[in-house]
């Protein structure tokens, strides 16, 4: 491990204070991450020291607020190796980012019979906007199947790509941990004249991100899963595309001119940022990026790989066939998300008993109902790892699972 997790834990107030007299084992970072004190403080200091509306004020306070916001845009742009910070558009969450693409680019460029190709791993955020376009514009939604082990089955890719205008895939699955070969898919998309959107909600927080290497055209992610505040998401898009897309939400900031008769749109990124932006949230996300960079995304990735290996091994050793771990077991193609089925105990009941042992995991469909259907289950128990987790957390999970088994075999 390339950093000391006990030091890292101290950065996160919720993990280092005592809760109900037993310390919290937080294994639900795929739902939302905990926040380091530095991020919390960045948000507070914004309100305490520089709060003002941005872009429109000539006074120094407003200028400070604008600078704080635009500096954060630069940082976030650098963080994903975007070449131009105006390719960073702030939204409220990844869901809005994807909807923006569907409702601006999609509505303007897709019609009857055009195909959007999704992977079978997708989160509802990367499904429902396309279903909505199917309803409104008659597009077809098509699915890349999965292999037995939860990888994308690309054997029929050529056929799947017929008529495709957009390939929209998650950079990492929030259920199985699977990390699909985005570069391959992006290249294949481009080869048939299609674009490629990556839902990187579970990718950007966990590994170094380079949009040029990924080769995609749009990248969506969300602040609260990467040590940042709630209420802030990002859409990165190639400027040539963003410039040609019609605006999405209409209002202040996104216009050059408005008359009683019509309006002209502003340039990017503002064209897509109608109304007062989530300023403190943008500043907070900038601080989150600073924090993650101070740890080093390479280190985060390495740590999670090591810990995932340990978790897979520990759970296999201790529970054998009693515990199913869905998805691939090869840590080179998966992240630290573990979807579990334990004996025949319903996930909701498992998580209830785990909670009683101070272990926070999620039970449910994880907003991926089509995937659940393929897995043949209604829900799973999901434990997800992040930089502040260590082997003791995994051990606590295993202990609590054992106790769960005992409890229900009373």
């Amino acid at each position: 491990m390339s950093f000391d997790v006990s030091d890292i834990k101290k950065d996160f107030p919720l993990l280092s204070c005592e809760e109900h007299n037993n310390s919290l084992i937080y294994l639900d970072s795929a739902a939302t991450s905990q926040k380091p004190q530095k991020v919390i403080d960045a948000v507070s200091s914004y309100y305490e020291e520089i709060n003002a509306n941005v872009h429109r004020g000539a006074y120094r306070l407003a200028e400070k607020a604008t600078t704080a916001m635009e500096d954060a845009r630069e940082k976030i742009s650098d963080f994903i190796k975007s070449e131009r910070s105006e390719e960073i558009i702030f939204t409220k969450n990844a869901t809005e980012s994807i909807n923006l693409v569907a409702k601006s680019w999609g509505a303007a460029n897709l019609g009857e019979g055009d195909v959007v190709l999704l992977s079978s791993l997708e989160h509802h955020a990367n499904i429902v906007p396309w279903h909505q376009l199917a309803e409104s514009q008659g597009i077809e939604v098509r699915w890349i199947p999965l292999t037995e082990s939860g990888l994308l089955d690309l054997t029929d890719l050529d056929r799947l790509l017929e008529g495709v205008k957009l390939v929209a895939v998650s950079g990492a699955s929030n259920v199985l941990g699977t990390v699909p070969p985005v570069r391959t898919l992006a290249d294949a998309a481009h080869a048939v004249g299609a674009l490629c959107l990556v839902d990187a909600s579970q990718y950007v927080p966990h590994r170094p991100t380079d949009v040029e290497e990924l080769g995609c055209d749009f990248l969506a992610f969300t602040g609260h899963k990467m040590c940042g505040p709630t209420g802030i998401g990002v859409l990165w898009g190639r400027s040539e595309l963003l410039e040609q897309m019609p605006p999405f939400l209409g209002g202040g900031e996104m216009i050059l001119d408005v008359t009683q008769e019509g309006f002209t749109s502003n340039t990017i990124p503002w064209k897509f940022e109608a109304g007062t932006p989530p300023i403190s949230e943008i500043v907070g996300l900038g601080a989150a990026v600073d924090y993650l960079e101070s740890v080093g995304m390479d280190n985060v990735l390495e740590h999670e790989r090591t810990l995932t290996t340990y978790a897979l091994q520990t759970l296999k050793d201790r529970f054998g066939d009693e515990l199913i771990i869905h998805g691939p077991h090869d840590v080179s193609v998966r992240g630290g998300v573990l979807s579990l089925a334990y004996q025949d105990i319903h996930p909701h009941d498992v998580s209830q008993v785990l909670d009683d042992h101070g272990v926070c995991v999620r039970a449910g469909h994880h907003c991926a109902k089509p995937l659940m259907k393929l897995l043949g289950v209604g829900s799973t128990v999901r434990a997800s790892l992040y930089l502040y987790n260590d082997e003791s957390d995994v051990d606590a999970l295993a202990d609590a699972l054992e106790a769960t088994g005992k409890f229900f075999s009373r």
């Binding site: 319903h346 996930p347 909701h348 009941d349 209830q352 469909h365 209604g378 409890f407």
Partner: protein
């Protein structure tokens, strides 16, 4: 661990492991409704057959946690043979039970609204209110039953 023991009473686990009235009925003469818990993915289907204002048969089916399935199972035993009016009363009482606020449980000695005392086995579900997220599990079958009633009204 008192909270947990309180949630997972013996009788609940029994209904979970050995669900009563599991299955389906032919539609018509029965009516059917389907309920989802969008949060956790639980699903339940309820079929009821009503003759002369009396529930003569009821079956449920679905996938879900011990709370949602046992609650549905206990519901079927509680309402079979009852008139629709009586069932409305039971539904009301059960929802009362589910809305007794955590606070009142913590404070007093688990004093229960008298209107909920006629629930029999269902009383065992009272521990659920200490776990607000699970209330939706416990009421899933019941809300689906109410949907069946709406179906009936429409016919």
């Amino acid at each position: 661990m008192s909270g947990l023991e309180d949630l997972y009473r013996e009788i609940i686990l029994d209904h979970y492991r050995n669900p009563r009235n599991q299955g389906e009925l032919e539609v018509p003469p029965a009516v059917m409704a389907e309920g989802f818990n969008p949060l956790c993915g639980d699903e339940v289907k309820v079929h009821i057959k009503v003759d002369d204002g009396v529930i003569v048969d009821i079956k449920f089916d679905g996938q879900g946690c011990s709370i949602s399935q046992s609650s549905a199972s206990m519901m079927t035993t509680a309402i079979t043979g009852k008139t629709l009016e009586e069932v409305e009363g039971i539904i009301y009482s059960f929802k009362q039970l589910m809305s007794i606020h955590e606070k009142s449980l913590e404070g007093g000695s688990e004093t229960v609204d008298s209107s909920t005392t006629g629930l029999g086995d269902l009383q065992a579900l009272q521990g659920v209110v200490k776990f607000p997220v699970r209330i939706k599990c416990a009421t899933l079958g019941w809300n689906t039953l109410e949907q069946c009633f709406e179906e009936l009204d429409e016919n």
